[in-house]
Point group: C2
Chain length 102, copies 2
């Protein structure tokens, strides 16, 4: 079962590949923490319609991660930056810049 954090991360990395409508509704739930009922009312669609759209969007985002693995790779790089920081404190300025790309 995915958590809100995982969904947020999927969205951060791959949200640009969703449609505008999918993005808006995804942000309503993941970032603005609105309930399905609130989103449904705001958008004039059914609660089930919102639930279906979110489920499809999450599936789409998860499929992109499965194929491209950006999150997996960036997590590995982030952990390696921790190791570099520990081994070579002088490099912290540079690992900070790497982290900004992640």
């Amino acid at each position: 079962m995915e958590t809100i954090v995982d969904k947020g991360m999927l969205y951060d990395f791959y949200g640009a590949l969703l449609t505008d409508r999918q993005r808006e509704i995804y942000e309503d739930t993941v970032y603005h923490d609105l309930s399905l009922a609130e989103i449904a009312e705001n958008r004039g669609i059914s609660r089930q319609g919102v639930a279906d759209l979110l489920k499809r969007s999450t599936k789409t985002l998860a499929e992109y991660e499965e194929k491209l693995g950006m999150i997996r790779r960036f997590k590995t790089i982030d952990a390696l930056c921790d190791e570099i920081d520990a081994a070579s404190p002088d490099a912290a300025r540079l690992t900070k810049r790497i982290r900004k790309e992640l």
Copy 2:
């Protein structure tokens, strides 16, 4: 005008998002260096059909890069790894592992 190298890089990063058929034909030209005429003959389609498919595939791959920027980000990280190597030779073992993720 894109070079073969750029196309190869686009394919390396985003090829998993193409269809099987697009992937096969893309590899024929980018990796196996076959001509349009050769691909057309092997596949039993017109030369123009091959050219169109390749053009569409490249456009698709370039759109993914525009939206996700993996190549741009990984190039930046690679350059930062060079700087880390220069500043902290002890970290080379770790930057090598970062590069393997790129």
